[in-house]
Amino acid sequence: MATAPNVGMVPLVGAPAAQAEAPALLRLAGWRRPALRVLSVGLFFAAWHVATTWDVDLYVRFQNIPTPAQVLEEAVALFGSAAFYVHILASLERIWLGFAIATTLGVGMGLLIGWFRFAEDTLFPPIELFRPIPAVAWVPLSIMLWPTERSSIVFITTLGAFFPIVLNTIHGVEGIDRQLVRAATSLGAGRVAIFREVVIPGALPSIVTGLSVGMGVSWLCLISAEMISGQFGIGYFTWVAYGIVKYSQIVVGMLVIGVLGMLSSALIRLVGARCMPWLPRRVKDAT
């Protein structure tokens, strides 16, 4: 490309990257973006209020759905009562007990299966056999197998969390760069040392992912199991609220489930990140 000596060239190097080719009218900056998001959520609440207050029927029926105000009122009442906390605590206990068992079994078996061919040949086929069965489908059998209601529900949550955890652990172990193992042996590491110093830390990122996913699945299983059989728990509470015509409680129950699930997952991720100081804080931080 020949350049004429006296023509000024405008450099394109400094041009900002465009997020989308939106017309100037819709490109907002500064306070306008958060404002837009708040507006969007506000519109949702407004629509909810309108649909429920005026008993809208657009094939989807809003006649019996509680209004935002009713839900808020019910929430205040519930959080003031001790009985509600009994339900919450019951669910939390089942989740964390089930999750702890699933973690121990899942990570333990996963490490063995991923590293030792013998373990893979003996332990993996049964796991693969049961994996397609959703944990919730086990509920009737679980009721028969386990003596107490609590143990049968913990069984379901354990089952739910176990499969993501074991699979991710196996994947983590199998994904370890064999060069690192070679480096360790050429530095004098024996087999136990390799397992401790290379295999476990190497698999840790995948394990934490598995734990995170497992926690989410656990909540899903718990709520379903509680709805099908139980006398306590936030899932049970939510389901029963329908039967006793306390519809506002349904929504409060749903919200509480959502919040607890989110907090549990966030906790796992936080602890996981602490255990892996060598990873960049966010993917965006990595060059």
Binding site: A183, A184, T185
Partner: protein, 251 residues
């Protein structure tokens, strides 16, 4: 040495005999696929010779060990350990106490010029710095022979030159025997006391070149006539082997 599966074998190395003297720097030079890395892996103990044996200080090599430390080309530092953790790894494996480990690791890090980076993680370091950690990590165990598998191959040309000079200055201090694999003729002649020129697969030593250039060697030496003479000799052979490798395997 033969590798094979399902009835197909590949003879990687044939009739390789090399005797090194202690403290000697030997380069294995040859085209890709000539088996030079295989020889290195055999000395390291990662593979066993199909015929013959490797002997280090009168002991036959049967498995890997810290007495034959290896520096790989890249991605061999433990990402979950800090620089210090990586360097002291070999000592930890031998049961050396924490305080002693740290002080030795510090010493070798300063030898390779990385003081101050003890608590950094490998991913935060440049390629050249990572290789320096790799060198310190192998040397801290005072190996009988330092094995280096094209350690500067993944670095840019400038860094490579710096690292070569660094290696020589470090080697001057520790004086272990070094077995250095490379396909870079300048690198081999600049660093080594002797260069073993290898044929294409199956690899054999075609020529053993004595590099009688005085030490300490500065980078400028590669422009001197003496260097050029050696290079001409080696270059002709390497080119011949590369051409032969391209046209087909030896019978």
């Amino acid at each position: 040495m033969r590798f094979g599966r399902d009835g197909r074998t590949v003879e990687a190395v044939r009739r390789f005999t090399l005797m090194t003297t202690p403290g000697e720097f030997v380069a294995l030079l040859g085209p890709s696929g000539c088996g030079k890395t295989t020889v290195l892996n055999a000395v390291a103990g990662f593979v066993l010779p199909t015929v013959g044996r490797i002997v280090v200080d009168s002991e036959i090599v049967t498995q890997p060990g810290a007495d034959r430390g290896m520096v790989f080309q890249q991605h061999s530092l433990f990402p979950w350990k800090t620089v210090l953790g990586n360097v002291e790894f070999g000592l930890k494996m031998r049961g050396v106490g924490k305080k002693e480990r740290k002080s030795q690791a510090h010493a070798y890090l300063s030898l390779v010029g990385l003081t101050g980076f003890e608590h950094a993680y490998p991913r935060e370091l440049s390629g050249g710095m990572q290789q320096r950690v790799g060198i310190a990590r192998a040397l801290v165990n005072r190996p009988r022979v330092l094995l280096m598998d094209e350690p500067f191959g993944a670095l840019d040309a400038q860094t490579r030159l710096t690292m070569q000079e660094l290696l020589l200055s470090v080697w001057r201090e520790v004086r272990t025997t070094v077995l250095f694999v490379t396909h870079d003729i300048d690198e081999a002649l600049f660093l080594a006391d002797r260069v073993a020129v290898m044929t294409g697969r199956p690899g054999q030593i075609r020529d053993l070149v004595e590099v009688k250039l005085t030490r300490p060697r500065a980078a400028e030496i590669i422009a001197t006539p003496a260097f050029m003479v050696l290079k001409a000799r080696v270059l002709a052979q390497v080119r011949e082997e590369s051409a032969r490798a391209l046209s087909g395997p030896r019978p």
